[in-house]
Chain length 324, copies 2
Amino acid sequence: MYSLHELIAMSERELAQLPYPARPAGLYEPIRYALGAGGKRIRPALVLMACNLFQEAVTAAKPAALAVEVFHNFTLLHDDIMDNADTRRGKPSVHKKWNDNTAILSGDAMLIYAYRLLAGCDEKSLPRLLTVFNEVAVGVCEGQQYDMDFEKRTDVSVAEYLRMIELKTAVLLAGALKLGAICGGGSDMATDLLYKYGISIGLAFQLQDDLLDTYADSDEFGKPVGGDILEGKKTFLLTNALARADEPARRSLLELLSDRTIVPAEKIARVRAIYDRLGIRELTEKAVAAYFADANLALDALEVAPDRLKPLRELTAELQGRRK
Amino acid sequence: MYSLHELIAMSERELAQLPYPARPAGLYEPIRYALGAGGKRIRPALVLMACNLFQEAVTAAKPAALAVEVFHNFTLLHDDIMDNADTRRGKPSVHKKWNDNTAILSGDAMLIYAYRLLAGCDEKSLPRLLTVFNEVAVGVCEGQQYDMDFEKRTDVSVAEYLRMIELKTAVLLAGALKLGAICGGGSDMATDLLYKYGISIGLAFQLQDDLLDTYADSDEFGKPVGGDILEGKKTFLLTNALARADEPARRSLLELLSDRTIVPAEKIARVRAIYDRLGIRELTEKAVAAYFADANLALDALEVAPDRLKPLRELTAELQGRRK
């Protein structure tokens, strides 16, 4: 059995060994750059971890693990164009280093490359793997669309927000586990429980992100706190605040967020004060804890020897303890 | 057995019946718009035609036929952004009607949708179909990359140009036939011959395009003649002219093409005069005829009853006779 960090290291090694055609360089250089730029490699590790629950060797899951990580990086290439993000993991994003057309086309090739990698899985499992992969991929696109739609709306409900982050973030983590479990020969029940676990840690992770962006210790966090507030981003915090506030408070919160004359630090402090008054921090902390509890319950229900669950428990604990 | 036009009509009907989720509308509306905007539906008809060589029913090939057409339309969405094309089939292109982000994300969802459709094929054939589809899809991206690369180069050889159009155009036609043959249970030899037929008609088709763009009767052609010359596009005509010309003629042709002070009609006439002097028109007409002859040779070698080849012969003849 492999530890979480062994599987992350294995993912990194396998990714580094992926072959690329030399030409056309304009298509493959950006792919190599994007996949070599680091990242936590949580998703391929999840694929391998799920497989490792049912098999000592994880070889059978390697193609799916790589497919998931290449797919994830494809979404980053295209999202960075759509979100106009200039940097990614401390380096220029592909559309900044090259241009939009390069990021579009190399992204397309990465999506196709992900399917090529997936096609390297065992033929018997392939139809099922392909179905899961397709569902996940469509879900991620739908999530990105909702995320963009929400930018233009002020009436996003908490339920809508949760559905969006489920699609945009959680479904890929859950799908990674499901693919790994299928490769490892897990039962349908086990596969479904792992999917549920993935959804729960995905939601918990995103809610933590929302929380940290507003409440983190800025030294520990590594980037300025309050970015979501300044962008007026519909987060778990904001959608809950808008839901809890009475009509006058709701209106003044929306006005405050759209006010471009207030200095950033003051805007952040004032929004945070409203959140504090409404108990948004505690509410979110409780929601995060509840999702992590759900995640552990899904693991409890798995019919595998408890010691085999160590890497997944370890991951849950690491995520739960993060401060950045 | 179905005729070419029956299979085109069937493709149109099947496409019109494709279900789309209602939400998020921002993702699915552009897909419905793009797929409903017409098009010749040659590619899905090729899938069905190839299947129909080996089976009376074409049901087994319908998912692959739809996958190919959805994939083709995905490439149009993204190519229209990259090429800054404002219209498509007489209507605003998706990135003009909506915006770039919409065309990127809806395009991505279409590519995934193509894979979902493909996954509806018979499970036994799926691994092979997926491999063919992946190869084709990567090839099309590589072709688009070369096409964009060529815009910045003046030293594109005829061989490079042919390789580019093989990837960008011919490989999808060939792949469509190969997928259909696999669905229909054709032998490996038959499948390969159909692939070759597809490459040949694809190359012939693109060379005809190049020829018509410079030499068509503008009334019959339906759009202004000479667009490629004004854009300085690397076509079969231009790459051959540059290869045939001596160094001074080569240099003056390149200067003429990049000269922005000459009025369009004169530029077109002068380039055409150079082409005429170099015998480029006849050369291209011969190449087109040779590719169509290759196409028919591939069909001749197929071990199926000659009458079953009627739709493919009909297609070849229709393509060969086109004036627009």
